[in-house]
């Protein structure tokens, strides 16, 4: 088994009983999916639950897997569906992936760095600032950004996954990057 096999091939091999193929797949995507879950729900325990459920669902759905899209799309689709299920069960979960109005609300919010830029002095503080800026993004923008950065999905794949147009996805990603750039500038100015 070589590590340079694409994700789809590995998933097909795992569907036929090759446990090592799954291990390679897991090693490739465990960190990105975990960060995606963690940034989306902003709760480590809940993020780990979603993360584990995502992989478990993938294991159970291995026989139904067909190479119709990239494996990453399939994986993040599972995670996203799991998040929606949790939100429907518990309305207290503070993210809404379908709330288009959240973008406008987020645009009006002040960046977290505006409140205490003097505290962001070192690299750790810069990272925390970036993460904070990311978490302050509207869920749709945050999701588009995370899918683009963590899942390395293209605009078209994100559009198919989220059910919106490609240009909408481009706009969300552009907006998220702009907010992060502002956050970095504020750290640099401090």
């Amino acid at each position: 088994m070589t590590d340079d096999a694409d994700d789809e091939t590995l998933m097909m091999r795992y569907a036929t009983g090759d446990a090592q193929a799954f291990a390679i797949l897991y090693g490739r995507h465990r960190a990105g999916l975990y960060r995606f879950c963690l940034r989306m729900v902003s709760d480590r325990g809940l993020a780990e639950e979603i993360f584990q459920d995502t992989w478990t669902n993938l294991i159970q759905a291995r026989a139904r897997y067909r190479v119709e899209a990239r494996f990453t799309t399939f994986l993040y689709q599972i995670a996203r569906n799991r998040m929606i299920d949790l939100q429907r069960k518990d309305r207290r979960i503070a993210f809404s992936l379908d709330d288009e109005t959240g973008e406008a609300v987020a645009a009006t919010l002040a960046a977290p760095g505006h409140e205490a830029p003097e505290n962001l002095l070192d690299r750790k503080r810069s990272a925390e600032r970036i993460v904070a800026a990311l978490e302050a993004l509207p869920p749709a923008q945050r999701e588009a950004f995370l899918l683009h950065e963590e899942g390395e999905l293209t605009l078209e794949e994100i559009a198919r996954l989220t059910g919106v147009g490609r240009e909408t996805v481009k706009s969300r990603v552009r907006y998220a990057l702009g907010r992060l750039r502002d956050a970095l500038r504020e750290v640099a100015h401090v």
Binding site: Y26, R123, A127, L180
Partner: protein, 395 residues
Amino acid sequence: MSEPRDRDWDDELRSLGDVREAYRAAIRDEAPPEALDAAILAASRRAVGAGPRAARPGGFARWRAPLAAAAVVVLSVSVAWWRLDDLLPGPSAVMYDVAEPEARPEGRTPERARLADAAPGVEREEDERQRVADGAREATSAAARPAELGLAQTEIDGRSKRPARIAMAENAARETRDGAQTSRRAEPARETFAPPDAGPTTHAGRDAAERKTLGREAPEARMAVAPALAEGTPIPTAPVASEVVRSDAGAAPAGEALPPAAGEALVAAAPPAAARVPSPSGDAGAAAGEPSRPRALSTPLAVARGAPAAEHAKASPPSAAAPRIGGHDDGVAELRDILGLWEAGRRNEASLALGRLRCAKPHVPIPPDLPVPSPMPLRCPDGGASAKEASPGDR
């Protein structure tokens, strides 16, 4: 999955490269806990059966080997038991062991025990007769193998060079008959139910003993007679060695020619000096020296049981209406089979066989001391006519 080239978007992302680098640097240390990794990988292995737990055999697989071993043991014991049951020397032995576990003297059957209790003297007499008869049978068997023993053959004229052993056997048989005649008249129903080990267990042995008492000619004599018969030469009969009890000369004419096949079958091991009785009527067959047909000398049950004919020879007086046994339609073989079935414990089959015999051969007298009961009521295919002719011994 291919995406159209979007140069503007690529340029925009390139311009925001520093932001992406800063983000990756900020979150690169975030990873799921190792315990979560182990749990997910273990789940993936279990799902495809590659984990150690999946390789463990299930419930049936775990018990398959012990079950197979137990089945083999059970089958082996069953087959061995079945084969052992078939290989036993006789079913009577098993029956005795099961029915009467206490030690029983050799040759002591339940019937004999009952007789001994009723008349101790009779029991001793029976034992004595049995011992003498056994000696006579042994001598008869020895005489039947003259070539093996290197004995001289009997001469045609009856002057024989009989070995001392055969002569002794003849004397023993004669004494047995003498003693049996007296005891038989006194106790006609005293019949020995000999166990398998008390006497000859095969029909051949019984026949030998019977022929010994019936006084047939010795095989060597027959060997000498046969060519003479072929030539039509009258062959002088051997001297009368002893009295031969003839039950009913009228019913079966003496001197009746013995069928060749029957002669072959019946005359096999008679003592050399056993004499044939000349026919009182002096018919042509006897005059021609043809072997006379032996008369019935014992009761059907005695013959059927293979008891030494010597003890039955004089049991019935010559003038008494004793059943005539010796022909091929006298029911002796059937009675033997019936008795064999009875002794083997197949009592229902024995009873049914007795009923069939009574229907098929109503002229065959059923010995009164036959332990086999007839089926009641007796239904014969011919309307039960046979039942009317049944002997008084029927029950």
